[in-house]
């Protein structure tokens, strides 16, 4: 490194110029907008997480299991999603459904979101429309790997996002997810 670079002064100055240029360009756009040129738009700051940009309608967010009217899962444990999942992160155990007309149901349905790549193939593959990725929930980080494992009960309790794309269910907090 050259001595002149070691002082960093030139770098500090060029950084300041960049920031200043963004500031003034955006100020110019906001002024133009205020003065009637509506197509001019400056950058805005969104107060995340209180405020959010609208999500795209086809966004793939946290999975949920769709319920039947009696609250049991629509899932018939056909294993299509488990088979298609490229991350091998779905674990289903099949059992008899109490209703003999339905016959088969998942007794356990676990997704390891730590492995999920959010490809949405599971939703595509499902012949029963039993799994969807429409909760609008994106923040489910965890301090432990165990905290990323979502069980059938949690996945069944989730609601689809509202028409504005905002989640209607609180982010599920697994028991072992302690901050």
């Amino acid at each position: 490194m050259k001595p002149v670079q070691r002082v960093y002064l030139r770098e500090v100055a060029s950084g300041l110029v960049l920031t200043a240029r963004h500031f003034f360009v955006n100020m110019g756009r906001h002024l133009a907008h205020a003065l009637g040129r509506t197509e001019a738009r400056g950058a805005v700051t969104i107060q995340y997480p209180e405020e959010r940009r609208p999500y795209a309608p086809r966004l793939r967010s946290l999975h949920r299991l769709v319920r039947r009217e009696d609250g049991s899962p629509r899932c018939v444990a056909c294993m299509m999603c488990e088979t298609v999942c490229p991350a091998h992160c779905i674990y289903i155990v099949a059992g008899e459904h109490p209703n003999p007309d339905i016959e088969k149901v998942c007794t356990e349905f676990t997704i390891d979101l730590g492995k999920c790549v959010f490809c949405g193939y599971c939703v595509e593959a499902c012949p029963e429309d039993a799994i969807r990725m429409d909760t609008g929930i994106l923040e489910f980080s965890s301090y432990s790997r165990g905290g990323m494992i979502y069980t059938k009960e949690t996945l069944l309790s989730l609601e689809p996002a509202g028409p504005d794309g905002k989640p209607r269910s609180p982010v599920p907090i697994p028991a072992d997810r302690t901050p």
Binding site: T83, Y91, K104
Partner: protein
């Protein structure tokens, strides 16, 4: 022999051959549901239609025998159109339950729809509903809606088992398969109807919802259940360990062998694989020290066991080998006995109750390799005398393979005195049993799907079983345990593979002369003495 042409290719077949079999010889598959080579011709499904020159209408191939000069076409436009329409008929009332149907993935409706159907369904009416999930017997469950009324199951019960439990009831599209009143599908071969049912109408109760079939791996094997040695396929679930409650061997299916079991196996064999993943499996070599049982490493156990065997005079050792061991195991045991000079070896332990037998497949001898043990030339002593010698303290080291002596025909007191009389009891086997509880050294052996080997069936047919799984825990194949012991006792290099043991066996024992794993192949090979 009549000469005919199928799809432009000439061939000559014995008179009386039907067109499905004739085409099969050319590698041409004529689709069919109801035809089965072991059963009478029904001509129910109409899917096997072909065009024959000079015959005005398409003919069913299953019920048309070859004739001199016949010219057959299996792929004309008319045949393809007919197949498609017949597929549509078969599926008119079909519930399309595939997501919950255990047959999905190996279903001939799915396969033939993709190959010969692919039409747009025109069925707008409500489908006819029929009983679902009806248990027919201890092993088989029926879904009458999925049935395509091919009548294979009915003909099986009429013609193969002669028990006639099943029939087709009602008329037209209300026809359904069912049991005759007061009957139950409980014959000794009932599981075979699941195999021959081309759709998901008849499925296994013990396999219901366990594993999807596309997760299964298969390996050629031999049923260990009796001296017949039926050829089987072992289906193992290794890819998704949380399925089938963690069991690895999830089902056994028959494998065709003209000379042994044809297409069939009995229910006792088919549903008898639970011990492989059972709770009683021995998983680690163990040494009993007073009341405590200590697990030890093989590197410790082999010198320990060899030391015990060498520590006694040859006439103080008694060995109860097992007719469940493979030819390779028995041959190595014979070499070990020769090395130690042990003469008190036998493999015969009478069962408490004589096994059931019939004139079809089931043999009274419930051991897979009694004939092999005879031919390998093991022992010559009398097993009961060995036990008596242990009771009288003349035999101090008792080495027992697999047997549960406490469940044998011998009086319990006699067995207990023998087991308690011996200073050292070595038990080698796959599963713990009441006898193994008396062992001082336990050598865990791999079960048959976990290893290679050969058994000799009662007719003298040597048949190979192959490895489908790694051994559970630290179990080792019997030949490997015996090879290590032989190495320890004799310093001889130990065989690296079961095949090496078999090569030595073939070179030493005249009955097996000239045989190899390659010559045994998939169909088995008769030993010299049994050849016509």
């Amino acid at each position: 022999m009549p000469k005919l042409t199928i799809d432009g290719r000439p061939l000559e077949v014995p008179p009386g051959t039907n067109l499905i079999e004739a085409a099969r010889r050319l590698g041409i598959e004529i689709p069919h549901y109801c035809y089965h080579p072991a059963l009478s011709i029904a001509g129910q499904c109409r899917l096997c239609v072909v065009d024959i020159e000079k015959v005005p209408r398409p003919q069913v191939a299953c019920n048309t025998v070859v004739a001199e000069g016949m010219v057959v076409h299996t792929e004309t436009e008319r045949v393809l159109e007919t197949r498609k329409s017949i597929m549509e008929f078969h599926l008119i009332n079909h519930p399309l339950d595939c997501p919950v149907c255990d047959q999905a993935g190996e279903c001939w409706l799915q396969i033939y729809y993709m190959k010969h159907g692919l039409y747009d369904p025109r069925m707008v009416d409500e489908k006819v509903h029929k009983p679902k999930a009806v248990p027919l017997g201890p092993h088989v469950i029926l879904d009458a809606e999925r049935c395509i009324l091919c009548s294979r199951c009915v003909r099986f019960c009429d013609e193969v088992t002669g028990t006639s439990e099943l029939g087709i009831f009602h008329r037209g599209d209300r026809s359904e398969i069912g049991l005759f009143p007061g009957q139950e599908l409980a014959n000794k071969y009932s599981g075979n109807v699941v195999d021959i049912c081309p759709v998901g109408a008849l499925t296994d109760r013990d396999f219901r919802f366990q594993v999807r079939v596309w997760y299964l791996d298969t390996q050629k094997s031999i049923c260990p259940g009796c001296a017949r040695g039926c050829n089987i396929e072992v289906h193992v679930s290794r890819r998704r360990v949380h399925h089938a409650e963690g069991r690895r061997v999830v089902r056994l299916k028959p494998r065709f062998n003209e000379a042994v079991n044809k297409w069939w196996i009995c229910d006792a064999g088919r549903y008898g694989s639970a011990f492989v993943d059972g709770d009683t499996r021995l998983q680690a070599p163990a040494r009993r020290d007073g009341e405590k049982t200590l697990e030890v490493a093989w590197t410790e156990m082999i010198p320990l066991a060899a030391g015990r065997l060498r520590g006694y005079r040859a006439d103080e050792i008694g060995i109860l080998a097992s007719p469940k061991l493979s030819n390779e195991d028995l041959f190595l045991l014979r070499r070990l006995c020769d090395a130690l000079g042990v003469g008190a070896v036998d493999y015969r332990v009478p069962p408490a109750r004589p096994g059931d037998e019939d004139d079809f497949l089931i043999r009274a001898d419930k051991n897979a390799n009694t004939r092999g043990a005879e031919l390998v030339g093991l022992g010559g002593a009398d097993s009961r005398a060995i036990l008596a010698a242990a009771r009288e303290r003349r035999v101090k080291c008792l080495w027992i393979f697999c047997h549960d002596l406490l469940a044998s025909a011998w009086p319990e007191g006699e067995v207990l005195d023998g087991l308690l009389g011996a200073e050292t009891v070595i038990f080698q086997g796959t599963n713990a049993n009441p006898t193994s509880a008396y062992a001082h050294l336990v050598l865990p052996a791999a079960a048959y799907p976990e290893r290679e080997g050969t058994w000799t069936n009662f007719e003298g047919r040597v048949q190979r079983f192959r490895q489908a799984l790694p051994p559970l825990g630290r179990a080792l194949p019997d030949w490997e345990i015996l090879g290590r012991l032989l190495q320890e006792v004799q310093g001889a290099p130990r065989p690296a593979r079961a095949e090496d043991c078999f090569r030595d066996l073939a070179a030493t024992v005249p009955a097996f002369a000239g045989m190899s794993y390659r010559s045994i192949g998939d169909a088995g090979q008769l030993v010299q003495t049994a050849r016509p």
